[in-house]
């Protein structure tokens, strides 16, 4: 009897009607997600298995696009370059932001000013950043190389004009851009640590490194997890910085996956291969993220 009374005349359950209100609240976001993310995702998946020029009917190509891109040296190179770029970006950005957060968590003068100053690169326009760094890293008269010459480096690197140094150059710029934002995340993490733990440890005679390695680092592990994951994702999909600073050059020394996808889609007009490459990038990032979630269970302590 009771159950029956829960049903309306149209046969909708009370729970469903209540849920409907909830759905209507997320609808605006959902529509945007469907049109601009979900449908293109599915479309891109279909494209990666087809041959299409954008105008005539699509032809089914099976795995040909994937076979082709894996035979393309530029693509295989792009995977390695992306991995190389990401690895160092993640490690160095993490180290830099943690270091800065530790420094700025202490009671020093003008702490607010330094925090703002370090956060600034993150909000600065990437176009401006790339123009300025292009000039800074100029091989002959750029300030960076002038400084290196001043301290006695006789043959400073060619940075963006050299195939060996272009990725390290980009890593430096990217780390500089990232560190302020992740510093803020670490600062928040540091401020959540209960001061009484430090006091207790100090009473027991713990100092410097022991405090850091036994208290700070383990208690920061949720922040570290978030920082590493965001950095991995951001650095794998890096596009704006590379496009603005080198356009993948010299040669294709800094052509990473997103740049490769862009070139295939908008220079060669080969949507099939571009989508296939995008799928590979998707799979790589997906696997890394899944792996990190597994690792989180074991490594994150709190």
């Amino acid at each position: 009897m009771k159950r029956k009374s829960n049903k309306t005349s149209r046969g909708m359950t009370l729970t469903f009607r209540q849920n409907l209100i909830g759905y209507s609240f997320i609808l605006p976001n959902l529509i945007g997600f469907l049109i601009f993310i979900f449908i293109p995702v599915i479309f891109s998946l279909i494209l990666s298995f087809s041959r299409w020029d954008g105008f005539n009917p699509m032809e089914f190509a099976g795995l040909q696009n994937f076979i082709d891109i894996f035979h393309d040296e530029v693509f295989v190179g792009a995977i390695w370059k992306t991995a190389y770029f990401s690895f160092f970006t993640v490690i160095l950005s993490m180290a830099a932001s943690l270091g800065l957060a530790l420094l700025l968590n202490q009671k020093i003068k003008a702490r607010g000013f330094f925090r703002c100053a370090l956060f600034f690169p993150y909000v600065a326009s990437i176009v401006a950043v790339s123009v300025v760094f292009n000039a800074m890293l100029q091989p002959d008269y750029g300030p960076v190389n002038e400084f290196l010459k001043f301290i006695g480096v006789s043959n400073p690197p060619g940075w963006l004009a050299s195939t060996t140094w272009v990725i390290p150059g980009l890593i430096i710029v990217n780390v500089w851009r990232n560190m302020g934002y992740f510093m803020i995340i670490y600062l928040a993490g540091l401020q959540n640590i209960d001061q009484s733990l430090y006091e207790a440890a100090e009473i027991d005679g713990a100092k410097g490194w022991a405090l850091f390695s036994r208290i700070t680092w383990p208690l920061l592990s949720p922040s570290t997890f978030f920082v590493v994951m965001m950095l991995v994702i951001n650095s794998f999909k890096v596009f704006d910085l590379v496009y603005l600073m080198t356009q993948g050059g010299p040669g294709n020394a800094s052509t990473m996956l997103s740049q490769y996808i862009y070139n295939k889609a908008f220079i060669s007009w080969d949507y099939g291969k571009a989508s296939a490459a995008a799928m590979i990038l998707f799979i790589i990032v997906g696997l890394l993220t899944a792996f990190q979630f597994q690792a989180e269970k074991k490594l994150v302590n709190y």
Binding site: F36, L47, A161, P250, G251, Y262, Y271
Partner: protein, 432 residues
């Protein structure tokens, strides 16, 4: 948040493409169907996508002139930024009926449009109206598999710009209209002087691969499609030799400093610059605006040994008709006008170089205010080779050549290795 970020990575690009396809419908010729019943004749509106209208004012003059002669045809110009234009045009064409007149900024793309069946074959129109096709520069280049894909509108070609004051100071005679590249190289070393910030460079090769490779295809025997690129070797040797000797600016300095060819010439720090005739228009404008006081002149582009003087390399921008347009006859009327005598005269009065040329054209061009003395002789050509052949692979090959070019110029690769790599990659592109 994490999930969304991951998804957007791989798919952002596709999202943009799709969104653009959906949204580009907004610019369509909706009012095409409107008819002016009062006049008796049906009024049609043609959509004409153009780029950077503010700097290409002659297009507006052509459209106005045309509309005066054809009161029943209205031309709706859709202006787009130059760097975005080709993407926009491709998407419009893919959408079907968004545009009627197809003005192809990167002419080699004509081949892929034609292959997709997006361009009307102009042969019957040209025959019907008895157009004298011999007056068009590179008319035949747009004949693809027996179909005339487009009509040439504008042809720019390479000439040698020089700074008269630097020649006078160095006591060197002005460049002649019959000079080989070897002579140019020697001339550049005589003109180079000074040190550091005050250094005057005798020559200048811009960072485009075209500024080395064009001289290799100038004889018309080879094209940038290769696939054997050994014919480019002498010109790469020349470029590197001049770079080492300091008679041209260093490639990596130009590239990393993002230095524009026009500004170095206008600042008077280089004596000679081989560059396209589009710089003529710009020099006249800058000089008139008082932004440069360089006393400039032009000479015919140097030529390889054993090739006739006046052989040069250029690029032709054509106009075509969308195969899916509802108003092909009207679109043809416009193209015929724009690419014909009248359209060309508007182009000429703005300092531009039309593809439609007769005996008087060069003379007319040289009448423009601010044109240097002797331009009429300097601008004479015996042949104009297209820098990029109208071929479906040109864009992709060109991208590849740009990559290898930079490696050779910064000496990360030897000339031989670079040219060999170009050959291998060109073959891959051809077979894909």
């Amino acid at each position: 948040m994490r999930k969304k970020t991951v998804k957007s990575i791989a798919l952002g690009l596709t999202a943009v493409t799709l969104a653009a396809t959906v949204l580009s419908g907004c610019g369509s010729s909706k009012d095409s169907a409107e008819s002016g019943k009062n006049g008796g004749e049906e009024e049609v509106t043609l959509t004409f996508p153009v780029w950077d209208l503010a700097t290409n004012g002659y297009l507006k003059n052509i459209v106005d002139g045309f509309q005066k002669e054809h009161p029943n045809i209205k031309i709706n110009m859709v202006d787009t930024a130059g760097s975005e234009y080709m993407n926009k045009l491709t998407i419009m064409l893919n959408g079907g009926t968004d545009c009627d007149i197809v003005y192809v900024k990167d002419p080699d793309t004509t081949a892929s449009y034609m292959k997709k069946g997006q361009l009307e074959d102009l042969t019957s129109y040209i025959e019907k109206d008895g157009i004298d096709t011999s007056k068009y520069i590179s008319y035949d280049s747009f004949n693809l598999e027996g179909k005339q894909a487009a009509l040439p509108f504008k042809t720019d070609y390479y000439v040698l710009f020089y700074n008269k004051d630097i020649f006078d100071d160095a006591g060197v005679q002005y460049p002649s209209n019959d000079m080989t590249w070897t002579e140019w190289e020697e001339m550049c070393s005589k003109l180079t002087s000074g040190e550091g910030a005050n250094k005057i460079y005798g020559g200048f090769l811009h960072t485009w691969q075209a500024c080395v490779q064009n001289w290799a295809i100038q004889d018309g025997k080879n094209t940038i499609l290769g696939p054997d690129y050994t014919f480019m070797k002498p010109y790469y040797e020349m470029a590197l030799r001049m770079q080492d000797a300091g008679t041209i600016m260093d490639y990596s300095t130009l590239k990393t400093g993002n230095i524009a060819y026009a500004s170095v010439f206008q600042q008077g720090t280089v004596a000679t610059v081989p560059m396209g005739t589009w710089l003529v228009q710009q020099m006249i404008a800058k000089k008139a605006a008082g932004e440069t006081d360089v006393n400039w002149g032009i000479a015919t582009i140097p030529h390889p040994d054993g090739v006739e003087a006046g052989s040069t390399v250029g690029s032709t921008t054509p106009m075509a008709i969308n195969a899916n347009s509802k108003y092909k006859e009207e679109a043809w009327e416009f193209i015929k006008y724009a690419c014909g005598e009248k359209g060309s005269s508007y182009l000429i009065s703005a300092g531009g170089f039309p593809s439609y040329q007769d005996d008087t054209t060069i003379g007319e061009i040289c009448k423009a205010d601010g044109m240097p003395e002797g331009a009429a002789e300097a601008l004479q050509t015996t042949s104009i080779v297209l820098d990029r052949p109208i071929n479906i692979n040109s864009a992709e090959v060109n991208q590849m050549l740009g990559e290898e070019h930079s490696l050779i110029m910064i000496k990360e690769k030897s000339i031989d290795d670079g040219l060999k790599e170009m050959g291998e990659r060109a073959k891959e592109i051809e077979n894909s």
